[in-house]
């Protein structure tokens, strides 16, 4: 006879199998990064030579610096613009609200390749129209590069920030703001002393999210980067097209560790969120 409280084991088995599926390739890479041989098909002894080569490879470090600079600038502006949009959307009852939220939210569902080609076309049109003129009048050389990458990154990151911050805004009770005003606080005082502290975990989470997305992005960057500047994903991709260079194994392990730390921090933020909710 079946127990009343019997639960099928199937979901748990499925979960475990999925985790195996998710981690096996990563573990293979991690192990390979310490293997003297190149593909891990055979263990030819423990070695740190891939890590040594990684740290000697200047091209990787240049790409990493570019990636981080882009990610930091893009995160700052995306967080700012995204938070402003969330505040506006939260308060507004205006007729334009529908259009505004479509503008903010549809980038989340537009394939990145389309955003990439669209931005490339826009930049090319602007450059071919104003580039020559700018060079002649102001002596400013305009071209695809870091600036266009940053603009593109801000654009696709800010929607995520808005989504997270707006979620946080909707979660807390609107009457708290009314209470602050009732207790004599001006609009600005209320914003800085009540609204901002309450939504700050959302803003931080949104910023972390943008930072990761920016570091992660390949496709859009690939379209708008121009000839010169390289980011880490671009570097890895071009290295991969040439073969399967084993230094990337070492790089992957470092990235994985960074991700674990980042996820851990975000989880802590989420726990904090629960505490606030009550």
């Amino acid at each position: 006879m079946r127990n009343y409280t019997h639960r099928s084991r199937f979901p748990f088995v499925m979960t475990m199998l999925t985790l195996v599926f998710l981690y096996t390739p990563l573990i293979v890479v991690a192990v390979a990064s310490f293997n003297a041989s190149k593909y891990g098909g055979a263990w030819t002894g423990f070695s740190l030579k891939w890590y040594e080569r990684l740290f000697q490879d200047n091209a990787i470090w240049d790409a990493l610096v570019n990636t981080l600079v882009i990610a930091l600038i893009a995160t700052f502006f995306a967080t700012l613009l995204g938070t402003l949009a969330a505040l506006a959307l939260h308060r507004s009852k205006h007729k334009l609200k529908g259009i505004y939220s479509a503008l903010v939210y549809t980038p989340l569902v537009v394939p990145d390749i389309l955003q990439g080609i669209g931005l490339l076309l826009l930049f090319e049109i602007v450059l071919s129209t104003f580039g020559e003129w700018m060079r002649r009048t102001f002596g400013i050389e305009m071209g695809l590069g870091m600036t266009t990458i940053v603009i593109a990154h801000i654009t696709f990151c800010l929607s995520y920030v808005t989504m997270v911050v707006l979620g946080r805004l909707q979660e807390f009770d609107r009457s708290v703001i009314e209470a602050a005003q009732d207790l004599g606080a001006s609009g600005l005082y209320t914003f800085f002393r009540v609204t901002l502290p309450i939504i700050s975990p959302g803003i931080i989470a949104g910023a972390l999210f943008s930072f990761t997305l920016s570091i992660d992005d390949f496709v859009i960057t690939f379209f708008v980067k121009g000839a010169g500047d390289t980011t880490l994903p671009i570097y890895i991709q071009s290295a991969m097209r040439r073969g399967t260079p084993a230094v990337i194994n070492a790089l992957s392990v470092i990235f994985l560790l960074m991700t674990f730390v980042l996820v851990f921090v975000t989880q802590r933020l989420l726990t904090d969120k629960k505490g606030l909710k009550k």
């Binding site: 055979a42 506006a88 394939p111 990145d112 399967t244």
Partner: protein, 289 residues
């Protein structure tokens, strides 16, 4: 609040303008370029034409479009099929255990996309450990190539999108009232029947989100077929990049992108519209009662 309206306008303005210029305008340009001719220097010609759209009919494209669609749909179906039991499992765990498992699922999601693809290149490599294993148990021979085909593309797609599917479904499942399942059993339903008739409708909204979240990047996939696929597994995304970087045929690339966009937006708008219609109907019924 009446005295907030003006300030609200200025709070919202910068982002609005930014997105208008760097999001709405580029998308518009893509659509417009579809109807522009190409000139010999790789630029945009004058006038308007429908020839680009006609060229999409050449035998090469339908095959690629078809392949993009079926790979996307299969990948989505598999991801959803896996994500539902996982979400169920996670939401029934104790909160400590749940956090650990959730983290384990999120980590690959946050790991650099390229590194995930790279890991598969290593894993499926002809000199790799998996291949050796397959040869050892007789499922493959030395000459088998695991990479550079549709199956590799599909596998890596599923691999990358599983966390995308789990998160929205889990978010809904976590709030599901599991005593409803007990109630279903109490009323004589089997576990599976209860799952199908009570749990599934309860999480349907999350499943829809998951479908969208997986289907959209799957249709637009460029990197995965580029890196683990071969000439026989090209997708629309590869073609767009080729048209931009190899032959400099921007109208062609635009037309393909526009097609991709329609493929994403039509079902999306359809879903939203159906939901609206349903809720309006429900509201009308409430009003009648």
């Amino acid at each position: 609040m009446w005295f907030k309206k003006a300030s609200n306008f200025f709070v919202g303005l910068p982002t609005f303008v930014w997105l208008l210029i760097f999001y709405a305008l580029p998308v518009l340009i893509v659509f417009l370029l579809t109807f522009k001719p190409v000139d010999s220097a790789g630029g945009i010609g004058a006038g308007w034409t429908l020839s680009t759209l006609c060229e999409l009919g050449n035998p090469n494209y339908p095959l690629i479009i078809w392949r993009t669609f079926w790979l996307g749909i299969v990948a989505t179906a598999v991801c959803i099929a896996v994500a539902i039991p996982i979400s169920y499992c996670l939401s029934r765990m104790s909160s400590q255990l749940r956090n650990v498992f959730l983290m384990l699922i999120i980590v690959p999601f946050w790991t650099n996309f390229l590194i995930r693809i790279y890991a598969w290149r290593v894993f499926l490599h002809s000199d790799g450990v998996f291949k050796h294993l397959l040869v050892l148990i007789g499922l493959a021979d030395e000459s088998t190539v695991l990479l550079y085909n549709q199956w590799a593309v599909l596998t890596v797609m599923i691999y990358t999108y599983i966390p995308f599917a789990v998160l929205p479904i889990y978010a809904v499942a976590e709030k599901f009232d599991f005593s409803l399942l007990d109630a279903a059993k109490d009323l004589g339903a089997s576990s599976f029947y209860g799952f199908r008739k009570v749990f599934f409708p309860g999480i349907a909204k999350g499943v829809w989100t998951a479908v969208m979240v997986v289907l959209i990047p799957a249709f637009g996939a460029y990197l995965i077929p580029d890196l683990v696929g071969g000439p026989t597994s090209e997708l629309v995304g590869d073609k767009i990049a080729q048209r931009v970087f190899n032959d400099r045929n921007l109208p062609h690339a635009s037309a393909l992108s526009a097609l991709l966009m329609m493929a994403v937006f039509l079902p999306l708008i359809g879903t939203v519209w159906i939901r609206k219609l349903k809720s309006r109907k429900a509201n009308a019924e409430v009003a009648d009662a």
